[in-house]
């Protein structure tokens, strides 16, 4: 049982950032802007929030600090995503190009800034992890479920799940969501009934910036004690989760947990006696999440539901 608990706890560390970032990508693409800059935005959000933690961790610690850092990550991500929004929406430029550019700029700028700002001149930004929750009061006492979800955890997990619920509600149950979706399907039609396509697309990209920035911090906190200008390709994986999840929140949720679960098994197989006894090398386990995703996609992608106008700059004259 302990192994199962451990895997579920690990799964959260892998799945929640993927979920957050993929949801961010969803908002952007549903509004009609392809955002392959997710990786860069994650790096940017993680860098500024962890730099913040690094600077104030001597005065404060614990959950308060983490929440402040999360706000910083959100703001940093939004500001950075404005660059993408401006190029994609105002200048009708190729969205792949500006996304690629931001992916190149973010890690380089993070290293450059870290080495310029920090007194020791190194590119790693250290932080002390004071955020782990040993056991959530009351909830941690529940048998089985308490062990799985409310011990050895981070507040980010619950915030992530809450954001998923809010995203679902926002996209399907509000006027804003309907308008956002219409801009990603047929912007000219949306415009003809008085929806400001530019505004909605800005909203989509900014939401993706906020969630991707947050996702960067959420990814780094449990797995490391320093930030080295990389989120190990999680932005690209989130892009894969987004497509795997067919641009809908519920499916993204399952896709993120499917992939995260696979990753958790791959990373903790040595603690599972059965898998350990098979004697399969670790590299094979590490490949499994990716192979499994490909296999699932090969059998489930026959009809893909990408937003129709995603990636197409809005041209008012085109009716």
């Amino acid at each position: 049982m302990d192994i199962l608990y451990f895997i579920v706890q690990q799964m959260m560390f892998f799945s929640i950032p993927l979920l957050l970032v993929a949801l961010g990508g969803m908002f952007s693409e549903r509004s009609g802007v392809v955002n392959i800059a997710l990786e860069g935005i994650m790096v940017w959000g993680a860098f500024f929030s962890i730099l913040f933690i690094n600077n104030v961790q001597h005065v404060m610690s614990g959950q308060g600090l983490l929440i402040l850092a999360m706000l910083i990550a959100i703001v940093a991500g939004m500001v950075f995503s404005l660059l993408h929004a401006y190029a994609a929406i105002n200048l009708s430029s190729d969205q792949t190009i500006s996304g690629t550019a931001l992916n190149m700029i973010a890690p380089a700028a993070a290293i450059y800034l870290a080495r310029s700002i920090q007194e020791n001149g190194v590119q790693q930004v250290q932080f002390i992890n004071t955020f782990r929750i040993e056991k959530v009061p009351f909830l941690g006492e529940i048998p089985v479920i308490g062990n799985m979800f409310f011990r050895n955890c981070y507040i980010t997990t619950y915030i992530g799940v809450a954001i998923f619920l809010i995203s679902y509600f926002l996209l399907y149950k509000t006027r804003f969501g309907l308008r956002l979706r219409s801009c990603g399907e047929h912007p000219q039609a949306a415009d003809s009934v008085g929806i400001n396509v530019y505004k909605m697309r800005y909203a989509g990209v900014l939401l993706s910036g906020a969630l991707a920035g947050l996702g960067g911090l959420v990814y780094v906190i449990p797995v490391s004690t320093n930030f080295n200008a990389t989120v190990s390709g999680y932005g690209f994986l989130a892009l894969a989760v987004l497509i795997f999840g067919q641009w809908t929140p519920k499916r993204i949720f399952f896709a993120a947990f499917f992939f995260g679960g696979m990753k958790a098994i791959a990373s903790s197989y040595s603690g599972i006696p059965f898998l350990q006894s098979l004697g399969i090398p670790s590299d094979i386990y590490k490949m499994i999440p990716y192979i499994a995703t490909l296999a699932v996609l090969a059998f489930s992608s026959k009809k893909s539901q990408a937003p129709r106008a995603s990636g197409v700059p809005y041209d008012k004259g085109l009716r």
Binding site: T96, P107, R115, T293, K303
Partner: protein, 375 residues
């Protein structure tokens, strides 16, 4: 005359982007360390020339793989596909060529490195073709399958290296040296690109790989612009429904274009890792090959045009080598990546810039026309 004008017009967005990117980099240096900013700019612009002919050779050496990954990404762009999987294709190709380079020593003379290179190309081709097959027959989005195959390739290569007796250098945790006959010949380039230190020739790492890369670029150019096959591929990229209607087999186009894109990346891996004298080594680590992602930048800057890609790769290699000399002025070499990123970002505005240029020229023409008509 008109042709030159048209050509200038087509490359003007890239040139403007380069100028603005370098200028922005200068501003960043000005902010972080004002005293050295100007000499820093000079160092970047001088690129390889900072250390004479050897430096120029190094530029060509660094340009070799990114010309090919750039071609790979650009070729897929032409068929309307985004090949984000150049990294995986490159490392798979590299492993295949290293395997041949170490084990197939029965091959005589020049045949050895040629076969090693071709096997690398073939391996990359298989890896790229998988993406095409999944897209054509199972409708799997090429971006997601390419990302997955990047990681599968990376872990798979690590696994194969570690489980191989002949290829694994346990002490250094990397691949072993390839046989001397498997290293790409220098083809006389070492007699051009060297620095004399006393009587000692300090030779650059450049080899025949750069010549092969340029020739391949020209072949791709001909394939795309002078053959029916290339025309079909481009037609698919422009409008798949129209080309389907005109009788183009879309599935075949997708599979073949990804296979060729993969082959190009695989060849990039081969040329990179078969460099003389004993080949480069694949380190067993969990990092995707950056040359694959640089290929995207090269293709974008070269406007997906094979000849443009050669120059874009040379330029990026030029300032990257220049960046290596920045340490002495107390700048981080990452400034180069920032500049490249900014150049790509500014080139995203190319549509806007070109339209401004077009509008300006059209206006002038309009006036001229009016004058002629006597208005």
């Amino acid at each position: 005359m008109n042709k030159i004008k048209k050509w200038l017009l087509s490359i003007s967005p890239s040139l403007i982007a380069i100028l603005s990117g370098v200028f922005a980099g200068f501003i960043i240096m000005l902010i972080s360390n004002p005293a050295n900013a100007f000499s820093g700019l000079i160092v970047i612009l001088k690129g390889g020339w900072n250390s004479g002919m050897k430096g120029v050779g190094q530029v060509l050496y660094f340009a070799t793989p990114i010309i090919l990954t750039g071609l790979s990404v650009g070729f897929a762009f032409k068929t309307g596909m985004f090949n984000i999987g150049a990294s995986g294709q490159l490392v798979v190709g590299a492993l295949a060529s290293i395997y041949v380079g170490i084990n197939w020593t029965f091959l005589p003379g020049h045949l050895h490195w040629i076969v090693a290179m071709l096997m690398g190309t073939l391996a990359g081709m298989v890896w790229g073709m998988l993406v095409g097959l999944l897209k054509a027959y199972r409708n799997v989005n090429e971006v997601i399958s390419a990302i997955m195959l990047n990681y599968i390739g990376m872990y798979g290569v690590n696994y194969l290296i570690k489980s191989s007796n002949s290829m694994y250098d346990i002490l250094r945790n990397q691949t072993a040296n390839v046989a001397a006959s498997a290293a790409i010949p220098k083809a006389g380039l070492d007699n051009i690109f060297y620095n004399l230190i006393g009587k000692f020739k300090d030779v650059s790492s450049v080899n025949a790989g750069i010549i092969i890369a340029v020739v391949v670029a020209i072949i791709i150019h001909i394939l795309l612009n002078r053959t029916t096959f290339g025309y079909e591929l481009k037609a698919c990229g422009h409008n798949r429904y129209a080309s389907q209607y005109a009788g183009v087999n879309e599935n075949r186009a997708i599979i073949l274009s990804m296979a060729i894109a993969g082959a190009l990346s695989g060849m990039a891996g081969a040329l990179m890792f078969l460099a003389p004298p004993s080949g480069m080594h694949i380190h067993v680590q969990e990092v995707l090959a950056p040359q694959g992602f640089n290929g995207i930048a090269v293709a974008l800057l070269g406007l997906s045009h094979p000849i443009g890609i050669i120059f874009a790769a040379l330029f990026i290699a030029h300032i990257t080598v220049g960046g290596g000399y920045l340490q002495s002025l107390r700048y981080m070499r990452e400034i180069i990546d920032i500049i490249i990123g900014l150049i790509i970002y500014f080139s995203a505005f190319s549509l806007l810039m070109r339209n401004i240029v077009l509008r300006a020229t059209r206006k002038r023409k309009q006036y001229a026309g009016e004058e002629e008509a006597g208005v």
